[in-house]
Subunit: 249 residues, 5 copies
């Protein structure tokens, strides 16, 4: 039986030895826009979904077919996790654990977490910087070779933070890519930089130009998802990320 | 023992090999008005009801007899599920699962879910369009033969969405008919089109003319149910349905 | 151990083969005023009480003796259930079930539920009408012989509704008498008519004249209980009772 | 394991065959001021305390020693229960039961509950009246011999009410002394009268003069506790006590 | 399985026979600033952390490495517990118990709790006074030898209070040092005095001068943590500490 508020189930077969790129609705929707673009650009298929009574009672219809709002996509040696609804704060911990559990159980290669890191002066930045966090020293070396700057000091809040910590605890490979972005305004430009960095790190070849060409249309389409995501971020104290850590002053 | 907030029981004997038409209070009360009209037009009898402490502590009196507010009706090879109270958001998941469980257990033929899909320009539409969603490719072909347009892209929120997803997961036949409607204003005209489509799809012969002739009276009688239903829809973020999905941009 | 919010215990020995008249705080306090009058007029004794942590942490003192606020009274072949506090909405379902359980276990004859049915034009009505609902067709015949009008179409909300439904489900005898009343203003006149009807139905001989003579004093004494009861009624959507049912339009 | 919200533990050894005087924060802080005065006047020692996660996460420091905020004091054949924090409404039922359990288990003689009974015209009363409630007819006689008036009709709300009812149910001796007092203003004068009555009833010899001499200082010191207690009283509908009971009209 | 709201786990190996200095976010951030300074001044390493779903879903990044926000640090015969997030009121009891459990299990020497005690006239105080509370009479003597004043009368609220009480109950050594401080304004000056007192009591040799030299920078860096901590303190009724105790009047 299900205990209200704690139960999350990941259903689906993973692609062994493939990376799972996680792009959930977050600051500037950087993760969600990146994931959505990957699905289209790489013609990925739905290979699984997440079930929970904490998700809204909703189905999504695409090309007259019925889908879940939080899905796993896969194809050509890569997988993507994304969501068409914000992740409710009470889902963040159980979802994070469920995904890492599933990833280990299915023998996948590692988690690549894409997210935005809001910067107050985003308007003045033409090409957003991308920072990386490595789940192990081995990955740190790999990332440094690519020339991507490491995220040196600060906080990360939300599902990506929970997944990275859970991965580290269980010795499972994980990296995080954080693109400078708006906080509550959809940011396809930041997503393009995040995916360009992902290309470098994992050797992918995703064309990010369409994200820049269609930026205005993407912003219009994702306005509502951004608005709801902003509510969830406020509840999680996402704005913590603007702060400097206390320790090692 | 019952765990508060999760327990729903469907009581009653189903008619084997009959369709269950589900019309719950929803956008424009399209489902509820359709269900109520079917019960009267086909002289259906009460054959069961739904029990839950999450329903209001209420009895309904008809012709001096005592009834439950959420009931199953049946007769002449068809069944109807309807409710004289809005479905509280916390009841949506357990009710959806309980109904599909019951339908499978009782050996019924399939679920036909009737609901409204709110459109902002409803006032300018004389004859509301009806769209269909099929729970399987087999039904999709059937629906397309009837000339009813498929619902191609979008969200559906509420009990019908949960029932359709649960049906698909368990391989149980289901279709959904969505009539363009008002969101928070009772819409007998939309119900008439939904039932006309149901006639085509399932080969019924329900006279929908009374719905149009008595539209004004129906709107007056259902004003209060509409008002309460609007509250429940807001809590479920029903307005999601106005949005465009994120994926496959 | 007690699970918070669900536990209600009825303590006391019932009078076998006697009716239990239930008069709880409700619309116009019709039930509570009727019950209180019966206790005084028939010199009934306390024979039991209801225990629950959902009741306020309160004792009632009468003639320097300590009592529970929700009590069973009995004597001369009749029992009365009444309450000096409103029934909290979360208590309505478990209390309703606990009373019917107790009634069956103690071998009592049946439940006679007295309640008010608010009418907007109460001020213009000199002698409030009383309507009846029968828990079985057998009682319907009995009630019709007395000349009391049947309640034909509508909703009943609250503890009485739950008790009647539970009685019907378990095949236990029950009737309900509903007197036209004010919604949120104590109505001794309505209580007098309800008791007059009860006299006819169950062959009692309760003098209702004091209720009319002391109407003003009763209204003053019950003003506070009415105010608190109004809060509970609003939470239970008691105002549903003004609506017309949807089905059988 | 502890279930949130229900767990209260009384720790400590009781003095066999001694009375436990209970003076918790309540109307006019009559109980708390009386208890505090007894502890000082009789030089009582801490002999136990109450543990619960529903109490604020707080320690009290007296003469550089660490104490719990809800404590049992004892010495010279008498015990006192008092609290330096208001009793949260959700603690009222479990605390009441835990204290009576403990009292029976430890073989103590009985409970003497001291509380205030707010009267609207307190300002005009020079010497507040004290009323008594007896947990059994035996005590009623005893109390009447002392000349203290019995509390004839009304409500008592709060921890004292729960303790008295629980004592009566379990056949354990209990009395309650209620001094006329302010509702939300500390009332040392009422406490003095309550203790004078306690002297008569239990044969104690507590000097109450300091309560009158230091009234102003006590009022200043207890202002904050009174303010917080007022919040808890409002949640428990303490103002019920101004009402007249419904039954036996 | 974890029960929501009650589960806290301390992970890590303690240094046997070393003191654990606890400095959590509190009045004036005295504890947190002291702990952070010790970690830097003594070059302590992360040796453990606290896990709970009641902590925000957050990771902290220092020098491109991933950390938990509530950590144990150790080195050179001393340990420190600190947090970069406020302790949510519902975490206070379970965290307090978990830390004392862990300390006993790991064979550590004792708890030294550092906290601020807000004083309204802090602005006029140049060198804040430090007061001590001893968990046993043995420590009281030790503390008095150092010349530190004992905290004689008052309340202490929050995680430190729970840890001290739990230590006393289980016979585990503990002391508390309270520096006069601002309530809701970061107070490095108070932290400096607290650490100077800690030096005396435990024979440490922490240089506190940097805290005074960098006071302005510390205040800027901790402004946000202070703001969030103030919210948690208000929920715990931290302002209790301004009150005088009731007992022993």
């Amino acid at each position: 039986m299900m205990v209200f508020g704690l139960s999350v189930r990941v259903v689906g077969k993973g692609l062994r030895d493939s990376w799972l790129v996680v792009g959930l609705p977050d600051a500037g929707l950087v993760g969600a826009i990146s994931a959505s673009h990957m699905v289209r650009a790489l013609s990925l298929e739905t290979i699984g979904h997440v079930e929970s009574d904490l998700l809204p009672p909703m189905i999504v219809i695409h090309q007259a077919k019925v889908y879940d709002p939080v899905r796993l996509f896969g194809g050509g040696g890569v997988m993507v996790l994304s969501s068409e609804v914000p992740i409710h704060p009470s889902l963040v911990y159980p979802l994070g654990r469920a995904i890492v559990d599933w990833a280990i159980r299915e023998g996948i290669k590692g988690l690549a977490l894409i997210t935005g890191i809001a910067v107050p002066n985003r308007l003045e930045i033409e090409v957003p910087e991308v920072y990386a966090i490595a789940g192990s020293s081995e990955f740190k070396e790999l990332l440094e070779k690519t020339g991507i700057k490491m995220f040196e000091e600060g906080f990360v809040v939300g599902p990506s933070a929970v997944m990275m910590r859970e991965s580290i605890r269980r010795g499972f490979p994980s990296i995080m890519l954080l693109a400078q972005s708006f906080l509550e305004y959809p940011d396809p430009g930041a997503a393009a930089q995040a995916l360009a960095a992902l290309n470098k790190v994992l050797g992918f070849n995703i064309d990010v130009k369409p994200l820049l060409d269609e930026a205005e249309m993407i912003r219009v389409k994702t306005r509502e998802l951004m608005r709801r995501t902003a509510e969830a971020m406020r509840q999680m104290k996402k704005s913590h990320e603007y702060e400097v850590p206390l320790m090692y002053t």
